[in-house]
Homo-oligomer: 220 residues x 2
Amino acid sequence: MSDQNIKAIVFDVYGTLFDVHSVIKECERQFPERGQKISEIWRKKQLEYSFLRGLMGNYRPFWEITKDALTYACMVEDVELTETKEEKLLDAYLKLEPYKEVEGILSQLEGYQLAVFSNGSEEMLHPLIEHHHFQGYFNQLISVNGIKQFKPHPSSYLHALEQLGVEREEVLFLSSNTWDIAGAKTFGFQVAWVNRSGGIMDELGVTPDHVVSDLTELFD
Amino acid sequence: MSDQNIKAIVFDVYGTLFDVHSVIKECERQFPERGQKISEIWRKKQLEYSFLRGLMGNYRPFWEITKDALTYACMVEDVELTETKEEKLLDAYLKLEPYKEVEGILSQLEGYQLAVFSNGSEEMLHPLIEHHHFQGYFNQLISVNGIKQFKPHPSSYLHALEQLGVEREEVLFLSSNTWDIAGAKTFGFQVAWVNRSGGIMDELGVTPDHVVSDLTELFD
């Protein structure tokens, strides 16, 4: 990564800096032998509900959607989500584990404006970043909740751009989520797809500027 | 179903009148032992791409999206999609099997304006309906392609309503797809969820007016 035009480096959060499936442990504790399945449905529905509410024009903060998706996952798996269990699982979402290279990379990115830009609403985003003492690395923590339109809608990326105060081609945006890469590139950011799971780019008519397996590969 | 106010009965197509997974046979023929998996990914990505393109404001007709989704499914499953194989698989999509009760029900719904309303573009919708000689049952075949915005965006349902020429509360809309039920109900149609697979309604803040396991249950 040696593009002289980049002024701001912007990171997606869920799946990119933090492993959403680190909740499996707590899922497994609450629902033995169902942890992985519940975690998978939880994430799948969390994304799907954000896309559908975005399309329907029926916004609800991502933290509420995260609860709705957990409720659905437990109904499908036919397990009882008591208040105590819900509290423990949601709490685990506020303490997701960062990928192992993240802090080392963040600490060496001097000279750039650094930000996160997430579908996550403030009440879930801020505790997560603060739990890991990452707030010092970022100039901005940007949530789509400020515009009430989820990624990958263009207005969400416009909201981020306005918060950053740079030109759109001066932004390097990193995400592990192919739909987020498609949205950001379509909007006009430079994009790096952090392909952590060795996946295949979705057929959305977009080619990422960079494809890396983790953050180290991009910045070393 | 005895609501005196209903003037138009409108059916979703894919998954509601026709079984999208009836392509498994052709998938299996082209890719032995991978048929079911490919069919599942194909449908999953077809829906996902329509939602994402809807959100990104990057419309492409559903027939093209159906091809893109098949391309992705074959890449993920690491099988070669030759031109011949693609042609055979897409042709199977134009001849999907209707659910067994569909024709019997359509033939007895006299006195109502009947229509289909689908994300499918005309070049896939018309051949499918005509292949089964169903065109005589419907007053209208409505595609979102007329407005270039996929369900569940409200403008797509508005487009259908304008084609129907009735009031929105005079429409009974039937779909097997929970996201379609959520979109149609949010827009203001009366809705019946055809829960063919014994699933659970998604947590999208919407309760269907009717829930039935097939069309017979609603109209008998």
